[in-house]
Amino acid sequence: MKPDGPLLRTDAELVSDEALMERFCAGDTAAFDVLFVRHAPAVRGYLGQLLKSAQTADDLTQQTFLSLVRSRGRFIAGHRFKPWLYAIATNAARDALRRGHTESLTDDGALPDSPAEPAPESDRGLKRQVLAALHQLPLAQREAIFMHRFEGLSFADIAQAAGVPESTVKVRAHRGYQRLRELLQGLWEETK
């Protein structure tokens, strides 16, 4: 199936992700550019939050879109694009964690010599507390919460991305929020 014509800049804003992916699979490389511009920042942000490492997020964002190109023949027409994209990103993150290919950099970009020290009291706000607590959750719960609250994916979409039933995703998210509440409650009690 050949694309109808060149993808104009004004058209790009109106075309859905699924239509763009269909065009891309048919050979329209401009459609890939639109998808990249549209989703790369969010994917990078998601990976950065998941792994707490800017350099790893950059590497995995590259791998995510490289995988998208290599495996575009595996995208099923009619399926939603965003869960598929986040499935790739999540798989890349899990693979990196499994192989130990993640690093946390200090503020000046160097590798830490010792485990990172907690932020001083004066820098702690609710946002930092929440992010620090999120990173104490198991990976599966963290993924569910990040995709649900940060990326706006529905539980059905997250289930498709994670390759598990929707009920499993809901349980993970619920347990993650409950654990988050326990962690934050402990922090709030300490600061009283």
């Binding site: 050979g27 490389t29 998208l68 495996s71 499935a87 609710l126 930092r128 999120l134 609250r149 409650q185």
Partner: protein, 254 residues
């Protein structure tokens, strides 16, 4: 004891009166505060790199696209895997003499052969098809039924041979599984590692060997079949995910 309405604190659409309840329940208030704070935490997300740096992240993808402008369809890998399994079985079936003393009857022999052929084809296709997990989960009961059919269709005649003589059967089966397993593992690196996909690939490869032994081996003893016909299938199916796990994925697509 937790408040019975605590779960509403983690809902996107709590009941209309939850706000009033929250004002009087410190537990629900803190839980809802944590839930809403997660969204606030999103604004503290790392800043994305500037446009040139972001475009640089697409370099590898664009180079790949230039090198391979035509998308490779997933079913090509399924065809390759199924062809490797079927081809191995066909070669073995032609080269090895047939025997029917393993089976209780001709009809039983055909039924068991059909069962394992179905397992081989289904497992080979489902190992690479971009379908939901529930489809691959069907393979386990399917393989179980084929295994039960193997035992049901056996003649239970062990021909008076010692049990250890069955090692030769297992060795032949494992040798026949090697080539299709190699094809399967190569195909599996085209997407993200998933244990059940690798198990399916191992099951498909091993089924080819078992199918050949089903036609060739004269020993219909139950112990022999369990240990030296079904045992290698289980072994290869379990080993495949372990081997695949250590291989590098060329893509992280599901």
């Amino acid at each position: 004891m937790s408040c019975p309405r605590l779960s509403e604190a983690f809902s996107d659409t709590p009941a209309l009166d939850f706000a009033a309840h929250r004002a009087s329940c410190s537990e629900c208030h803190q839980a809802r505060q944590a839930y809403e704070a997660v969204a606030a935490g999103a604004s503290a997300a790392p800043v994305s790199p500037d446009a040139p740096a972001l475009r640089a992240l697409a370099h590898a993808a664009r180079a790949e696209l230039a090198a391979h402008p035509v998308a490779r369809r997933w079913w090509l890998d399924a065809v390759a895997l199924v062809a490797a399994c079927a081809g191995t079985f066909a070669c073995a079936a032609v080269m090895m003499p047939w025997s029917h003393s393993q089976h209780r009857s001709s009809a039983a022999g055909v039924a068991v052969a059909v069962a394992w052929a179905a397992v081989m084809l289904a497992a080979g296709a489902l190992a690479v098809a971009p379908l939901a997990l529930r489809w691959r989960q069907l393979l386990l009961p399917l393989a179980g039924l084929a295994a039960l059919a193997t035992l049901w269709g056996a003649s239970q005649l062990d021909l008076g041979r010692p049990l250890w003589s069955g090692v030769g059967c297992a060795a032949i089966e494992l040798a026949l599984a090697a080539a299709p397993l190699a094809v399967a593992l190569w195909a599996l690196t085209r997407f993200a590692f998933e244990p059940l996909r690798a198990l399916a690939a191992g099951l498909a490869a091993a089924s080819a060997g078992l199918l050949a032994q089903h036609l060739h081996c004269p020993n219909g003893g139950l112990n022999h079949l369990v240990l030296f016909h079904l045992g290698p299938v289980a072994l290869v199916s379990v080993l495949a995910p372990l081997v695949r796990r250590g291989m590098t994925s060329r893509s992280h697509a599901p």
